[in-house]
Structure formats: C-alpha cells, structure tokens
Symmetry: none
Subunit: 174 residues, 4 copies
DNA sequence: GATGAATGAGTTTTCATTCAT
DNA sequence: AATGAATGAAAACTCATTCAT
C-alpha cells in the first residue's frame, strides 16, 4: 500500500466519521489528502468501495480489542475489560467509533459490529458468575455501553470516572 | 396549514427518518408528496429549514411524552413510565425517534432532545428512593435506554419483554 | 389607476433602473411594493409588459423636457436648454435616465429615446447660428451629453459646473 | 490553457457582450462552446468568476491600445490617436467594447476602465497645446467619445468619417 | 502510480406565471 | 381589486466517475 493510498484511507475515515458519508464528496477527500480525485478511483474503484475499505481498515483495530476481551478467562475481568473499553477510547480510535455508530444508524454499508461475539462472551461470563438470565444481562450491559458511546460521540463529555465505577459496582466489579 | 404543506412535512419526516437528511433530495420528497418541488421552497424556504420544521413538528409529539413522565408524582411509577417509553413506541412515533437519533449523531440541525429535563426528573426519583449517587444512576439508566433505542431503530428487534422486566427488576420495579 | 398599481410601477422603475431588468425578479418587486406577486400580473400581464409600462410612464416625463427644448425659438437658448438638461437632472428623474441608458445598451424593449427630434431641433439651431455642418455639430454635442450622462449615471460625480461653462463656451453660450 | 478552456472564454465574451451577463445562462455558454456545463465550473469555479476572467482577458487587449496613446510624445498626435481609437474599432475588439460599456452601466464586476490614465495623458496634451482648463477639456473630449461609443455599440452606425473630421477640426487636428 | 481534462446526471433553489377564491 | 397556493421550466452549481496520458 503506497503512501498516497494510505493517506486517502485515513483522510476518508476522518471525514466520513466527522461529517458522514453522504456529506463528504470525493473531491473534498482528494483535496484534504492532497491527491488527485482520479487516484481515489484508481485505488478504490468507487466511493462506496472506499467506505468499505475504510470500515475494513477500522475493523482491524476493533478485532484486537474484541479478542482481548474474548480471550480473557476470568469472567469478572472480562466484563471489566468490556466496560473499560468504552471509557478509555484511545484518541486514534475515536474516529473508528464515530464511523461505527453513524453507520449503525445509517446502514450505508454492511458492517460487522462484533456485537455477536461480545454478547456471547459476556453472556458466558454472567453465567459463570451465576447471574439470572445471563443473556439478557449481557444485552442490557451492552445497551448501557452503547448509550454511553452515542452520547460521548455526539460531543457530550461526562464525568466518566464516576459513571464507570458506579456501573462496575452494579456487577460487583472494582 | 394547507393539505399539501402538511403532506410535505409528513413525507419529509418519513424520508429523512428512514434514509437520512443528506440522502433525500427535495425532488424525491416532492415526488412522494405529489407536489411540485417549487412548493417545498415556497412553504419552507430551504431544505434545511424544512428539516427544522420537521424537527419542530416532531418535538410536539415528544413534549407530550416527556410531560407525562415529569408530572408523575410517584417516583417508582415515574421511572417505570420512562422505561416503558422506549419499549412501546407507537408506530406513528417511530419515525420521530429515528430522526431524533440520526440527528444526534449527525447534528445537521440543533435539536432539543429533552435529555436535561428527563435527567433531572429521574435523578429526583432516584434520590427519593434513596439510591446512592442518584444523578449517576439516572445517567446510567438513560444510557441503557439510549443504547436499546439505537439498536431497535437500526432494525434489530429484540425480545424486548424479557429485557424490560429484567431492567425493571434492577430498580425493584414491576 | 389604483394606488397599488401605481406603487408597482414606481417600485419597478426604481429596481429596474438600479439593478437592471434581468436582475430584478417579480417577487422582489412585489415584496418592495408590498403587494402580492399575482397583482403585478393582474395589472400588467407579464414582466416584460411591466417594463413596457415603466418605460412609457418614464417617457411622459421626458416628453415634457423635450417639448420645452423644441419649442424654444431662440437657437442659442435652445442649445443652452439642452445642455442644462443633462447638468441639472431632477432627483426624481434620475431613475428614468438610469433606465433609459441601461435599455439603450441592453435593448430589452424598444424605447423611444427622443434622439431624433432632439437632433433635428439642435441641427436647426446650429444652422441658424451659421455653424458649418450643423447636423454633425448637433450629433457631436449630443454625444458629449450622452457621454457625460453615462459617467454621471454610473456613479462618478464630476465638478459639473466647470464642465458646463466650458462646454457652453465652445458654442459661445453663457 | 486547453482549447476547451479558451473556447469557453471566447464564447462567454461573445454572449456576455451581446446579450448581457444576466441574460446568458451557463447552459447556453456550454452549448455554444460545445462543452459540458460542468467544465465551465471546473475551470472558472462560478459564473461571476468566469465574467471576471473574461474581463481580465479583454483588458489585455485594451492595455495595448492605451499604452499606444500614452507613449505618444507629440500632443497633437496623441489626441488624434485617442479619437481614432473610437472610430476604427477592430472587429475583434468590438465585443470587448460592448462588454466594457455594459459593465460600466451595470457594474456586476469591478472593471479597470483605464479612464484615469487616459484622462491624465490627454490633460497633459491639452496643456502642452496651451488649451485653457486642459483637464476639463480632456474630460469633455472623453465624454464625446464615450457618447459616440455608446451609440455605435447600441447598433446605430453613423457616417463616422464626417464626424471624426469635424471633431478633429475642433482641436485643429487633421 | 498518478494526474488533469472532461462529463451526464443530479443537486438545491429561483423564475415568471396561473388559478381559485 | 387582491391574494395565497401552486407549478413547469430553468437557473447555477456539485457529484461520482472515466479516460488519455
């Protein structure tokens, strides 16, 4: 992957995440990435396939995070890790998350959200911890995190430390 | 408000909610509403002001729901009502919710989300019920509901009955 | 002629003269004249016919001025009157002149410029005064005035007193 | 500058000069120039900037003419050259003049009319020739030429030979 | 790999005009 | 006489995409 090809990808991620796929023209991407508009099409064939590539590239980052959770043996730690995920997004990952949630509400392109493996592994953890209805429990926790993310990503920064500890308390985590 | 003017508003709500503001052209709205494109601009001046009008029109509906919660005196019932809100969206309101959440992530236009009054009233309820950190508690509940909504609105219909009762259980509601 | 009909005419003159026929929409005229757009068409049938009416209305004013020159018996006074014409445009007539010259360069509508009678009467005056080539002489004087007008109307206010006396000097007028 | 880009410029000059900026649509220009409408905007960004470019392109031509007058040492010849300017417009320059005068009355875009340098150089000539009030004299001559131009450009072709010689006579030029 | 030139189909918006009341 | 509602056609401009080099 040449420098310019990568530059296009990163610029597209940045713009799509911040302004939405529809609001960003290929011309704008080209300008920001300091490449010709034609090059975008040489490398990615169409705007939608560029989005595809961006999403795929983003998913690389997510995969790592998910794996880290799924492979955690201790159920409490596993849940803790999941919760921590949302509360300490690395700056570089912020764009990925923004795009992810935008695409969930505006499914321009099919994305793999890793929702299912997360749900499975959390259900398993709750079951091991003898929670009633572990599947439902996992679902509810995931919703809470989703809701938190949506709010954070739309710009409202909360005092997340208190939130996190209170949430962990609910599951007797520290 | 003439029939056609209202028709434009409803059509716009429908299309904006389902496909997003950017993806819907005024031509498409006009066609679906069976009016001339020019009429949209006669009545609403610009596409963005049409969105404004749509949002305002939508908010009318929300106001009622929020009032119903805020005015509830019994704290337990108040929280229950809030939870129920998300779990039994009237079909006619579905579009409003879709648009609301789309706009939250893509703030094309400033919307009043009623988040603040809801938070205040829920905090108050939790305080009355002697919960620790009632504000945080309210916040977390709201996130859970938000997360649920996001998932529901992006098309994943869950077995919501179990979810609802489990969630209510957490707050010792029935 | 009703008040509103006249208001439309005057507003149209004002706008056409200042911004040009093409740049002024019937909507703008209606707004400024505080009448409905439809009324313009009730009274004048079309935008171009409104211009026609405006021009005709303007010509009323000109006719008077021209007559005043043509009927002047003394040749020197006649020429003097013509020169004075340009140098003391009444404020109310300014719009008429603006429109006149705009239409001369952009003949949207056929206008009667009174050029011919003026030329005839000036030629006659110069002949009486024994000028060589009185027709050409008249033509040249008319050009000078035209040029002066074009410059005045495009906003460049000159120290016209000196100009006038110098010009009159050339024809031994005072 | 590619062929098509130049073609657009020339076509625009032609149409703007003959029909006026407002009356000529970009669609018409594109059609006449046998290019896509989009290309106009690729090359010139907006209709008004196209006019800008046209004017700039035109001014190139004028600059030459003006220089030729200003650099003339002999005062009589200098004035003669100025007068001749108007009386023998090269066919290719006609469009430039039309546009120039149209824009003077309808200042859609700021144009450099070279009025000032011409006035200075003519004043100087008249002073050298011991005319009284050389500045005013220059002004009057310029008005006469302006007036002549306005009339010629609005289509009234006069027997200009006689006019020219009579005008020159006034300044004892041949 | 990279670009500048070019375009067809679309975008939002404005236009002059008509019609029912 | 006067208006508000309504429209077809056109306006300027943008879009994603192709192609020759």
């Amino acid at each position: 992957m040449t420098d310019k090809k990568k530059k296009i990808l990163k610029t597209a991620l940045n713009l799509f995440a911040n302004f939405g796929y529809e609001s960003v023209s290929t011309a704008k991407i080209a300008k920001r990435a300091r490449v010709s508009e034609a090059l975008i099409f040489k490398h990615y064939r169409s705007k939608i396939q560029l989005l595809d590539a961006v999403v795929l590239y983003g998913q690389e980052g997510f995969k790592e995070l998910v794996t880290n959770i799924v492979l955690e043996e201790n159920p409490k730690t596993r849940i803790t890790k999941y919760i921590d995920l949302a509360f300490k997004i690395r700056n570089e990952d912020l764009l990925l998350w923004k795009l992810e949630y935008k695409l969930r509400l505006n499914p321009t392109v099919t994305i793999n959200t890793f929702q299912k493996p997360i749900h499975t592994t959390l259900s398993d953890a709750f079951q091991t911890l003898k929670f009633k209805n572990p599947k439902i429990e996992a679902q509810l926790l995931m919703y809470t995190i989703d809701g938190f993310m949506v709010n954070v990503l739309s710009g409202e920064m909360e005092n997340s430390t208190k939130l996190k500890s209170q949430l962990k308390n609910k599951y007797s985590l520290k």
